[in-house]
């Protein structure tokens, strides 16, 4: 999947795999593998937001973690392009290189309650990454922290307080300030608004957009919420049982999906409009088990368009239209409606 804008890719992920062993018995014998990430490929262009959607357990978080090797990949390659244009193969990099890389790639976590140490002040939380890497100290450190807090819309006057004194939205702002203090280029945001109240979600989404504009950030935006992903992303990848089944520019994906699973997701979202009846077309069955996926197309047991070939042969991830990839034998032939009108 080499695209026209190849020169500006900040990240290239090729056939990434992350398996977790399933063990049993006294000697923890390996009896199987959870294929959490099972051959994932995508590019990230500098300054863009790629949304990564899919249902619980499909491998979104593991994909994000495998990129920075917080989970050691089982296979595949991850290339990262440094500011000076040198290409680093993260999957083969030594400890020192990984340390640099982990400064440039930051993760924002879902739960602003669990991810902030309750015994540290806001100042210490935000300053910590700079201190640990000996990048600033004294007055300089303090200036940098207060600059970061202002950037995320918090008053530096709160610096000496502890996380419990803040609301969920404010804590997520603090988490964002902490991840930006290292001046990263790529931010992996793992469900950054899922734990927030709806009235506060919009504030954080707007903030993330502003920061992207001002700092030229690239986002891998992980979410299970399709409307949030449609709002924030330039392109969207849909995952099902460890694999990307569709990847396309946002508008394309939502109006002309090419994979039946994408269509099923779009039709499952209850429309916040009582005059649009969006229920009544739900999928049968349940998400497949990544430890024991079905033969052929992983989606075939639930797919309304299934044919014999789907039960036997796994479809390739193919470029069906320019920049529009799908993993379905019949992607060209299906005429899927997309978001209900």
């Amino acid at each position: 999947m080499v695209s026209a804008a190849e020169g500006s890719n900040i990240l290239e992920v090729r056939d990434l795999q992350a398996y977790f062993p399933i063990t049993a018995g006294l000697w923890r014998r390996v009896v199987g593998q959870v294929r959490a990430v099972d051959g994932v490929s995508f590019d990230l262009k500098e300054g863009e937001t790629l949304g990564l959607v899919g249902e619980s357990g499909c491998g979104k978080t593991t994909t994000g973690r495998a990129i920075i090797r917080a989970v050691e990949p089982t296979g595949g390659e991850v290339f990262y392009r440094m500011r000076d244009d040198t290409l680093i193969e993260a999957t083969a990099a030594d400890g020192r290189t990984m340390q640099t890389l982990r400064q440039q790639i930051q993760i924002i976590f879902q739960d602003p309650f669990a991810s902030l140490n309750p015994r540290m002040t806001i100042y210490d939380i935000v300053a910590d990454p700079l201190r640990v890497n000996s990048l600033a100290s004294g007055g300089e450190l303090e200036d940098r922290v207060s600059e970061m807090l202002q950037m995320v819309g918090m008053s530096p006057a709160f610096m000496r307080r502890y996380p419990h004194a803040f609301s969920g939205g404010q804590r997520q702002r603090i988490g964002i300030a902490r991840s930006l203090v290292m001046n990263p280029r790529l931010v992996i945001a793992d469900e950054p608004v899922s734990a927030l109240d709806v009235s506060v979600q919009a504030q954080i989404l707007n903030l993330m957009q502003d920061l992207q504009q001002d700092l030229g950030l690239t986002y891998l935006f992980i979410s299970h919420d399709l409307s949030v992903v449609q709002y924030i992303s330039h392109r969207v990848a849909v995952m099902y049982v460890g694999k990307i089944v569709e990847l396309a520019p946002t508008h394309e994906l939502f109006t002309r999906p090419m994979h039946p699973y994408t269509q099923a997701l779009l039709s499952s979202v209850p429309a916040p409009n009582p005059r649009v009846k969006s229920l009544g077309q739900s999928l049968e069955g349940e998400v497949a088990d990544p430890a024991n996926p079905p033969a052929g197309c992983y989606f075939h047991p639930r797919c309304p368009f299934v044919q014999d070939v789907c039960r036997e042969t796994e479809p390739e991830f193919r470029e069906i239209a320019p920049s529009h990839f799908a993993r379905c034998h019949f992607a060209e032939d299906l005429d899927l409606p997309g978001v209900p009108a």
Partner: protein
């Protein structure tokens, strides 16, 4: 012809008395649930939705207590002869009358099915126990047959064998189906569903919502559906109450809520949610300023005033608004509509 509602809640207050202070979780709430109607309850985390549900079920435990108000419930509806009113709020929480109603005439399902199911008993054991507890004239075999039938009805494959499984061996969606089965086994008048699909994925959520809508029509029961998801409420409910900090800010039919919201909180909330769109998303979302205040420091006057774009200084921070009727089936608690204020809830019921 519309007669008295199945359930009439008036001025209900349930507070938690903690060392840190008093949490006014439900703070003077009035609304009706009509027989056979789905009432949605929406509002953000901590606004009092679950405590309201638990107050109706009379399962609030110390340090929480229902300190005021009435919950008039028509027991007669069950026998086809409306008009046998009891006040649930007056019943001792462990008394025999409420135990008779709870779990049989009024049942509840929760976000996390493991709250309702004991992990050490099979699904079947628990559903059968529930049936036998309220119906003494039925044999164990009959109860088991009924449990199998109801499990089949909620879409459990091979219910004859699944009935002997333990809750942990089922997927989240299957557990939720079993919980619905348990809640429906007694053919309730009112089903209270507290975030029944919040923990589920969208495709499973869609399945469960479809099932619930179908069963609600089939059984003809009233349903109080608690959710923070405006999409869920739009698809499922006929009427809605919107809560903010322990109070109802708006109560109306579902179309009016979306077409013509009157309370600034409702209006702002509807503007701030991203929606799937064919024409693509708006450039920018309209965000509500600030955040939901801590339960211990409730703002003076209208509890929404610090975040309200329409707040009037000297009024909204001073006076507490009351529910005012603004349309045929539409009441709002906002000072912008307070001129000639009357008791909206009282008018709405006599329609």
């Amino acid at each position: 012809m519309q007669t008295m509602p199945l359930l009439e809640v008036r001025d209900l207050k349930t507070h938690f008395f903690l060392d840190e202070g008093t949490v006014r979780a439900v703070d003077g709430v009035s609304f009706d649930i009509r027989s056979g109607v789905v009432l949605g309850v929406v509002g953000e985390s901590g606004c009092g939705k679950s405590v309201l549900a638990r107050s109706i079920m009379r399962i609030v435990r110390p340090p929480g207590r229902t300190i005021e108000g009435r919950i008039t419930y028509d027991r007669g509806m069950r026998r086809g002869a409306a008009g046998d009113f009891v006040d649930l709020a007056q019943m001792p929480i462990d008394g025999s009358e409420i135990r008779d109603i709870r779990g049989s005439e009024i049942t509840m399902i929760f976000q996390e099915p493991m709250v309702s199911f004991s992990p050490v008993h099979t699904i079947g054991f628990q559903i059968i126990e529930g049936i036998l507890q309220h119906e003494t004239d039925i044999s164990k075999d009959e109860a088991r047959n009924r449990a199998v039938e109801i499990l089949r009805r909620v879409g459990i494959p091979n219910p004859e064998s699944r009935i002997d499984q333990y809750p942990f061996s089922l997927s989240g969606g299957m557990r939720q189906r079993c919980m619905i089965a348990m809640a429906l086994a007694s053919d309730p008048n009112l089903l209270i569903a507290d975030e029944p699909t919040t923990a589920l994925d969208v495709t499973t959520q869609a399945q469960i919502l479809e099932l619930m809508a179908e069963l609600q029509r089939e059984f003809g029961m009233a349903m109080m559906l608690i959710t923070h998801n405006l999409g869920v409420v739009a698809q499922m409910a006929e009427e809605v109450i919107v809560m903010y900090l322990g109070k109802i800010v708006e109560w109306t039919d579902i179309d009016t809520l979306f077409d013509d919201p009157k309370h600034p909180y409702t209006a702002e909330l509807l503007k701030s949610i991203p929606r799937l769109r064919r024409e693509g998303q708006a450039e920018r979302l309209t965000a509500i300023a600030g955040s939901v205040p801590s339960p211990y420091v409730r703002p003076s006057g209208c509890p929404f005033h610090p975040r309200c774009p329409q707040a009037v200084a000297g009024l909204c921070d001073v006076r507490e608004p009351e529910l005012v009727q603004v349309g045929e089936r539409h009441v709002v608690s906002c000072l912008l509509y307070s001129d000639g204020a009357s008791n909206g809830a009282a008018e709405m019921e006599t329609e």
